[in-house]
Symmetry: none
Subunit: 201 residues, 4 copies
DNA sequence: AATGAATGAGAGTTCATTCAT
DNA sequence: GATGAATGAACTCTCATTCAT
C-alpha cells in the first residue's frame, strides 16, 4: 500500500533502463577519474555499476564513447550551474564571487572532476576538445560584463575565457589534490585575481 | 688506431652510451607526446631511437620511469631558461614580458610540451606531481618581485604561482593546438593579465 | 470476426506462424551463405526476417539447428526437382541432359547454394553429412539406368554417385563464382563427361 | 664430440626459429582441420605447438593469415608431388593410375587435407581461391596428355581440371571420412572414370 | 653493454542464449 | 506466441618485460 502510494506520487518511476545508464555513467566517471582512461577497465566499471559488460555496449559503442558521455555529462552539469539567473543578474565583480564559489563547490562534490578535465584535451576525441562548453560559458559571462560596462571594454571575452579557465582549473586541481588552503581562501584568491585583471579599475 | 684518431679529432667525443640515452629520451618524448602514455609503445620508441628494446631497460626500470625521465628533463630545460641572469635583473612588470616570450618560444620549439605537461599531474607518479619544479621557479620570481617592491606585497608567491602556471599553461596549450592568435598577441595578453593582477598599480 | 472474415477470403491463409518460419529460413539461408556459419549473426537473421531474436528460439534449439533446417530444406528442394516424373521416364544418356540443366538452373536461382553445400560436410553435425540426400537421389537415378541397361552394368551406383556429386558440385561452384562459361556449355561439359564415363558405349 | 660430428654432417641444423615456425604450422593445420576456422583457437594452436600465443603473431599477422600459410604449404606439398619426373614421363592413361595413387596416398598421410581443402574456397581470402594451384597442376598434366595425343583432342584442359578436381576431392573426402572401400578400389574407380571420360577410346 | 625473439597476462569486444514482460 | 534487453563466457590480439645469446 505504502509502496503504491509512494510510487504514484513519485516524480515518474525511472524506467529500469535509465537507472542502469545512470549507474554506468557514475561508475565510469569514478573509474576513469581514479585510474585514467587506459587503466580503467570496462569489467570493473560494469561490476561497480552492477551490470554486465555487454550492457555497456548496448548504450555506448566502446570505451572512448563512454568517456565522451561522461565528460559531456560533467560539462553539462557544470554549465547548468553557471546558468542560474541569480548569477546572470549579479553585477561584476560580485559575480566573480558567486562563480568561483560554485566552481570550488563543484570541485568539492565531484572529486572526479579534476582528473577528468585534465584527461579531456588530448587524444581520444577528434570532435572538439572537452572543456569547450565550459570555456564558452565563461566567455558568455565575460561578454555580458563587458557589454554592461562592468568589465574592461578592451577585453576579448573569448581569449580571456581561455586564460581564466586555465587559472581556475589550476586552482581546482590544487584544491582537490592538496587541500592546502581553506575553501574560502581559494575563492578569495581567484576573485581578487579576476577582479584586478578583468574588472574596471 | 683509426678509431682513436677519429675520436681525437672529434669535437667532444660523447661516449656512445650517452648518445644512446639522449636518443632514447628524444624518441620517448616524441612518442609520449604523440600518442599519450599508454598508447606509446616501447618498441616504437626503441625503433625511433635506433636501439633495441632491451637497451631502454638498461637505463630505465620501465615505461613509467622513462616518462618520468622525459618530464624531468623537460622541466629542467624550462627551469634553466628561467634562470637566465638577464631575467633576474629585469624589474617587473617588464620581467613578465621576457618570461612570457620565453614560455611561448619554448612552446613553439617543443611541440611535445603541452601534451606532456597535461599528462603529468595524475597517475603515473606517486612522488611529486610534475610541474612542481616549474611552479617553484615561477614562485621564486614572484617572491623576488615582491621583495623588491615591484609586485603587490600582499601576494602569496606560492599560491600565485599555481594560478599563474594554470593561466600560462592554458595559453600555451591553446597556442599549440589552435594557433588562433599571432605569437606576440598571446604574449601581450599574458603580460597584461599578469601585470594587472600581480604588479603594483 | 473481422479477422476471420479476412482469413476466409484469403487464398490459403498461411497461419502467421508459418510465414514467420519461412521468413526466418530465408533470412538464415541468405546470411549463412553470405557470411559463413560463425560470422552469421542471429540478430542479423532476425532483423532480416522481421522477427525478434527470441522468436527464432521458439522454432530452433540454436544456431546449429537453424543451419541444419536450412540445409535440409535446400536438399529437399533439390531432391524434389529430381523427382519430376519427366526425368524418371527419360532414358540415359538424355536423362543426364535434363538433370544437369536442372542442376545448373538451381545454382542460378539459389546463389546461396554453393557456399552452403561446402559448409555442410564438416563440423556442425554429427548426424549425417549434408549432401547425403542428394547423393542418394543421384544414386537412385544411376541404379535406374543400370537396371534398364542404359548405363554400364559393372558400375556401383552408390560409389559413382559420390564421384558424380563431386564433379557436378565443382562445376556449380565454379559457375556461381566465376561465370566463366555460358550456362549451356557447362551443361554440355557435364553431360559429355557423364555419358562417356557412365553410359554404355 | 659425437654431437659435433653429427652437427657437421647434418644438412644444416635448423635454427630454432624455423623449428618453431614449422611446429606452429603443424599445430595450426591440425586444429583448423579438426575444428574449422572459427572454432580453432589460437591459444590451443600455441599450446600444441609449444609456443606462446604472441610467438604466432611474430610470424603471422593474424588468424586468417595463419590459415593462408597452412593452405599454401599444403598446396605446395601436393603440387610438388605432382611434379615427379616419373609422372610426367608416364603416358596416359597409365599416368592416371600414378596420379590417383599419389592423391589417395596424400589423403592417407594428411588426414587434415579434406577439411582444409573444403574450407578454402570461401570467405577468408580475397586473393585467389585456394585449390587454384592444384587445379592449375592438374590442368598442366591434362594439356600434356592432349598435346601428346594421349587424351581427347577436343578437351579444354582448364575446364576438365575443374571437374576432375571436384571428382577426386569427393573421393578423397569420402575416403578420409568413411573408409568404406579399400584404397586400391578407390584408385581404380577414379582411374576408370578418368580414362573413359578423358582418354582416347 | 646490447640485442630482439619470446613470453603470457590481460584488455576490449562480440554475440548466442535466456527470460521477464 | 513474441519480444529484445540483458547476460557473461570466450575470443583475438597487444605489448611491457625478460633473458639467452
Amino acid at each position: 500500500m505504502n509502496d503504491i502510494h509512494i510510487a504514484m506520487n513519485a516524480p515518474a518511476p525511472k524506467p529500469n533502463e535509465q537507472i542502469k545508464t545512470a549507474k554506468i555513467l557514475e561508475a565510469a566517471k569514478h573509474q576513469f577519474a581514479k585510474r585514467g582512461f587506459d587503466a580503467a577497465k570496462l569489467s570493473e566499471i560494469a561490476r561497480e555499476a552492477g551490470v554486465a559488460v555487454g550492457t555497456i555496449y548496448l548504450r555506448y559503442a566502446g570505451k572512448a564513447e563512454l568517456l565522451g558521455a561522461v565528460l559531456s555529462e560533467m560539462e553539462s552539469g557544470f554549465c547548468g550551474a553557471m546558468d542560474d539567473p541569480l548569477i546572470w543578474s549579479t553585477p561584476f565583480p560580485q559575480r566573480f564571487e558567486i562563480i568561483m564559489s560554485r566552481v570550488i563547490e563543484f570541485a568539492d562534490e565531484e572529486e572526479s572532476l579534476g582528473p577528468l578535465m585534465a584527461m579531456a584535451p588530448y587524444g581520444v576525441f577528434d570532435s572538439g576538445r572537452s572543456g569547450d562548453k565550459v570555456r564558452a560559458k565563461i566567455s558568455a559571462h565575460l561578454q555580458d560584463g563587458i557589454d554592461k560596462g562592468q568589465l574592461r571594454a578592451e577585453l576579448d571575452s573569448k581569449r580571456s575565457a581561455i586564460l581564466a579557465h586555465g587559472m581556475v582549473e589550476a586552482a581546482m586541481i590544487d584544491h582537490m589534490m592538496n587541500r592546502s588552503l581553506p575553501k574560502q581562501q581559494v575563492i578569495d584568491e581567484l576573485v581578487e585575481a579576476s577582479t584586478r585583471w578583468l574588472a574596471k579599475f
